[in-house]
């Protein structure tokens, strides 16, 4: 396990430098004026950063207010009895609900669950799998669509949330099958 982890860490630390060297190297071989072209492309970075600000403010403020109001706790209380009937632990429910809204929030909930129940408990494993297999959907949509000025997301949010729900259910089913209850 130690070796696997160090191999993974090694791959992670090599990926970006390798990509930079390969791109710049091949570019130079093909006669691209690498420095000039790099600067020309990089110029846009600032515009993109500034362009996403209004979209990010809109979505993060709404999510921040939602979390601070205690609405999440209310939702948990509402859904818990239903999910208990299929054996889904109520403790892991805040994790499932917060995951699409806030990455740091979900990470906090996961750490807390692991601390109270243990990393190798059913809840600990479930929370870890949920964290690893889903994304901060609202943030990604706001940033990606905002960066190109798209305001009508059409069916994008619905498709992404359906995928999130499927991922969370799959996490529960797989963890139940692999580690048992």
């Amino acid at each position: 396990m130690e070796t696997l982890q160090s191999v993974l860490a090694e791959v992670g630390s090599w990926a970006i430098p390798a990509a930079i060297v390969i791109i710049a190297g091949i570019g130079a071989l093909r006669g691209v004026k690498v420095y000039e072209v790099f600067v020309e492309g990089a110029k846009e970075g600032f515009n993109v950063g500034v362009r996403i600000i209004p979209y990010l403010v809109a979505i993060l403020v709404a999510i921040g207010m939602f979390r601070a109001s205690g609405a999440l706790e209310g939702l948990v209380a509402l859904l818990e009895p239903v999910l208990n009937t299929v054996g889904f632990p109520g403790e892991a429910l805040p994790m499932a609900l917060i995951r699409p809204l806030s990455g740091s929030g979900a990470l906090g909930v996961m750490s807390e669950l692991i601390e109270t129940h243990g990393a190798d408990s059913f809840i600990g494993r479930l929370a870890s799998t949920m964290m690893g297999s889903t994304e901060t959907t609202f943030y990604v949509l706001a940033v990606y669509l905002g960066s190109i000025g798209v305001r009508r997301s059409r069916h994008t949010l619905a498709a992404c949330l359906i995928a999130d729900a499927a991922g969370l259910v799959a996490a529960f089913v797989v963890v139940s099958l692999v580690f048992g209850e």
């Binding site: 993974l8 570019g27 870890s128 009508r152 994008t156 999130d164």
Partner: protein, 211 residues
Amino acid sequence: MNIVWLALILVAIVIAAATGQMQETTNAAIESAKTAVELAIGLIGVMALWLGLMRIAEKAGLIQLLARLLRPALRIVFPEVPARHPAIGSMLANIAANMLGLGNSATALGLRAMQDLQQLNKEKSSASNTMATFLAINTSSVTIIPATVIAIRASAGSNNPAEIIGPVIVATAVSTTVGIVASRLLQKKAPPQRPGGDDPDSPGDRARGDS
């Protein structure tokens, strides 16, 4: 998005009033607005780095090469992107970076992919079908190695911190597949242009005007 945004805010206000958390909710609103700007500004450096590199890769023909090699597989997932279009290359770069868990670099590459997709988009202020599918793949997380999760499990004294890699990959595969299928099934129900839309001037001009 309009409904969801309004719902989040209205529910927050009603619940905050009921639970007496109005001050906390106020603070959260102000604090989140600040965080949003910090996040966006923080992205600029990485964004510039990858946009610069991607421009070199494009000029060197690397992106087009990648697109040509993987075109057959991607024709099924993104049928509306023409062969050899740079969007294929940049979407692949984003997905690869996501698989490796490269965080902000993946975001930068993803935003570059969105720019490429926007070129193909006929209705500039609406998301295209390809964008919806691409985002469904992105938000379903394509991570192979959830490095942060493994690190937290290790520091919490897990006997086998990486044991969740298998379940994560299975759950991710399920959510990605469902995301692709869902985006395809839903696209017909959400046409790009709202019939009798609420803004009289052309959406393209508006998008440029106020963004």
